[in-house]
Symmetry: C2
Subunit: 360 residues, 2 copies
Amino acid sequence: MSLTRRDFTRLSALGLAARFTPGLNAQSSSRKIGYAIIGLGRIAGNFMRGILATANSSVTGLVSGHREKADRIAAQYGVPAGSIYNYENFDEILHNPVIDAVYVALPNSMHAEFTIRAAKAGKHVLCEKPMSSTVAEAEAMIAACKQAHVKLMIAYRCHYEPVHLRAIKLIRDGAIGQVQSIQSAFGFSCDPSDWRLKKKLAGGGPVFDVGIYCLNATRYLTGEEPVDFEAFASTLDHSGRFNEVEENVVWTEKFPSGILASCSTTYGAQMDGYFRVYGSRGWLEVDPAFNYDGPRLRAQYWGTRLDEQSPARDPYQFAAEADHFSNCILNGLEPTSPGEEGLRDMNYITRIYRSAGITL
Amino acid sequence: MSLTRRDFTRLSALGLAARFTPGLNAQSSSRKIGYAIIGLGRIAGNFMRGILATANSSVTGLVSGHREKADRIAAQYGVPAGSIYNYENFDEILHNPVIDAVYVALPNSMHAEFTIRAAKAGKHVLCEKPMSSTVAEAEAMIAACKQAHVKLMIAYRCHYEPVHLRAIKLIRDGAIGQVQSIQSAFGFSCDPSDWRLKKKLAGGGPVFDVGIYCLNATRYLTGEEPVDFEAFASTLDHSGRFNEVEENVVWTEKFPSGILASCSTTYGAQMDGYFRVYGSRGWLEVDPAFNYDGPRLRAQYWGTRLDEQSPARDPYQFAAEADHFSNCILNGLEPTSPGEEGLRDMNYITRIYRSAGITL
């Protein structure tokens, strides 16, 4: 994990360091949590490299439809041949003692099935966001994990990212006064072959995959739950790329205190993720905010100017979330971003699409 | 006017220089257009200093309720004592041959009365934005100027600002591909004594005074007229400052092509004006965008990166708009931002407030 000593000092002072410092909380046990990785796409690669940077986690199983790919990765991470599964025999992990937890990195609509099967096999679940493709699936996932007495965490990596935590703390400490409104955006131009453009696999368009970062950020920045949404959706590229899901969504949110937010997402343009928070006594922005490398925080309040580019590099965010979940398992704690957190966003995403006139 | 030679070269190449170059189009006449300034507040000062930087305009009259203030400014600009009016005897400008036009810089709700009285006195009208406090007033202003055969221009200074014109040209030339969405914000923390907080004078809250920049920008950046609006409004400061108008508004717009916009405005926070335009092949932002000094344009597309901070300084934008209007009068041309342009925004502002549940 590539946090500098300066980051450490700063974050220790904020009382937050323990939360994302690999190994620090895991000292109560020398045991490492063994993860089976389900779905060996790009983000699974980041997560596995992140695990290497932790003191309390290791890759002990792989689940894939492509045996050759799995064998190659198994060799890389020292996973024994007996811990390689496919989507059919996956339930046999029940009998594998080196697998404590699974990391679900499949297309959205497969999250529910594999979370529930993992829970039935007695394994803890770290599931990528969005939690699912429907609210009903999210509820079923929570119920299954409760019933099986396993932990469920949704992989909201920004919840464990020092710069985001620092932004939250500055706001809570009143640095910029009363927050008035937030602007946020995140999107990218999606390759036509991407599963994200298939409604059956993705559940819906860009709010599911990238807009969810803006939505979730408005919630952790305000510390409130939005009570009202308005949204527009549109498609300008009629080449066929957007036959199943829409290209653009913009939406506004209203919070109980009166704080307002306006957000944009797209699968049709490069839209670097950022947020700006406007307060009665100053402003704060993180831009870029949602990339894998360290974000940049700028703020201005009470004559203070901040401009801090985090030197942290990918996969530090994945290391932080793996470390957190393993620590929760080792020490019987609840994750900061449990299934209920993912369910809230699923409910809000559903409301955003309903306001935009789109049936999910 | 503080455009550098480099600006000139660049803008000439774009074929836009003639539009805002003081004096260039006025050479058909050596005569200067004489302006009476109505309302001697802060923005009138900017405008008068701007006039000094033009070759085709001069300050030849003042209209104020404060005679001492008017006398002081008259001495500064060489305005004869016989060209100083108050709000009661203002109609006598009819008989003053050195006054060709008026510049209306009063609180919003007074724009209609003084525009109509000026038109009846046979004088051309350059009126600050927002054009009025209601749609009906805006319509009456247009009708009165038509009937009197005088020109009416709304002071949308960004329409004459080189960096904004360059952003528009880049977009129209397809530099960033098909525009997908726009984000924009502009606001400030309003002093409790400001007339902008009095509904009767302002017509409404921050959309009238600052949000209008975002609204207008989304229109000139897209070259389209929005067909749908959704908005939320809120007040968090209950000290009494916002007893008459709301503190915050956020809204979204949908354009006929499918382009979407999300905007924020406030009277309760420092919210530096900016816009970001996301296209299928790149993005472009102007930030700051709406200040009086030269804006900064950044863009990235097709491997090109732009980062240009305009060296122009206040009052160059006021000089450009005065030059444009004087040129229109001298050469019998229609202003780029006529009354009809102001009326459109008044209609949209009304729809934004209606969507937010606020009666104007």
